[in-house]
Amino acid sequence: MAIARKPNRKATSAVDVEALINRGGSPGGSGPREVQAKTTPILLRLPAGMGERLDAALKNRPVRLPRHTWILEAIHEKLTRESPPEE
């Protein structure tokens, strides 16, 4: 057979999948990945009532703080108190 049909081009070959994907915004984690890698996610389970006490303490502050920041500060204070920096 000397003559063959003209090969069909695949419709999807015209689609630049990579370019399509890259039109999307960067996922939040992909930029500062190194920074994220230095944090450790911890699931915190509070005893009954402690969450309410925490929220009440936050509510009574003259300057509002996110709960996460308050907990971080509390951990930092305890770490500093119980393991003073070496001289």
């Binding site: 419709a11 999807t12 015209a14 689609v15 999948v17 990579e18 399509l20 994907i21 890259n22 039109r23 999307g24 915004g25 960067s26 996922p27 939040g28 984690g29 992909s30 996610p41 699931l43």
Partner: protein, 223 residues
């Protein structure tokens, strides 16, 4: 089957839907991979808690992926699992786009509120943009965190039905505390005790639509 739970609005309950579908599918003895492609990593945190509560027997495998790796890695893993559920974040990201290039179904939950419904057009445009790269992609919209009463559900549904890019499926999920209570224990809402029968029914109906009823053939219609 590869199911993406996506959209471009935060707070629509994507992770709740993705994790509940994953739990039900795995309880029914299907080998399932849950891919967390949301930088908030909530599906991953849920799975960590679930593994803690079940002594490592979450019932499914969970991994985190981001960006173009969502496409490449999912393609590699597709043959190893019966089903894959991908939870994407609430933005038009490279992760979500990569997922849409290899998905069979996109499920988009919509809260019956104006700000959420206003994203319908952009989600439709995103689907239309991705379909040339993935002609088998089908997109479905449904109400999530629906009101127990009032007109908002009906109005939202009428807007969702207008979309040509997304097919509306009448499987509303109510705004029910049981979902949050279950998640806080690393459970799907179908595993929560005491159970919330309405929440269980609603998620089961959505599940049946996604996995048991062939949405693709339904949307094609007879013939």
């Amino acid at each position: 089957m590869i199911v993406v739970v996506g959209g471009i609005k935060g707070g629509s309950g994507k992770t709740t839907i993705a994790t509940n579908l994953a739990v039900i599918r795995s309880v029914e003895n299907h080998d399932l991979l849950l891919i967390d492609a949301d930088d908030q990593e909530t599906a991953t945190d849920f799975t960590i808690l679930r593994n803690e509560r079940t002594e490592g027997n979450a019932g499914y495998t969970s991994i985190q992926l981001a960006g173009p790796a969502v496409r490449a890695q999912t393609q590699r893993l597709a043959g190893k699992y019966q089903d894959i559920v991908i939870d994407t974040g609430g933005r038009d990201t490279t992760s979500q786009r990569a997922a849409l290039t290899i998905a069979d179904l996109l499920l988009v939950p919509f809260v019956p509120r104006s700000f959420d419904i206003w994203t319908l057009e952009k989600v439709g445009a995103l689907v239309g943009e991705m379909q040339p790269a993935n002609p088998r992609l089908k997109a479905y919209a449904f109400l999530n965190r629906a009101d127990s009463r009032g007109q908002d559900n009906d109005e939202a549904m009428s807007f969702l039905r207008e979309s040509s890019a997304l097919t509306f499926i009448d499987t509303p999920i109510g705004s029910r505390k049981a979902f949050a209570n279950a998640a806080a224990q690393g459970l799907g809402v179908t595993e929560l005790r005491p159970c919330d029968p309405k929440a269980m029914d609603e998620i089961q109906i959505l599940y049946r639509y996604v996995f048991d009823i062939n949405l693709e053939s339904q949307s094609r219609g007879p013939g």
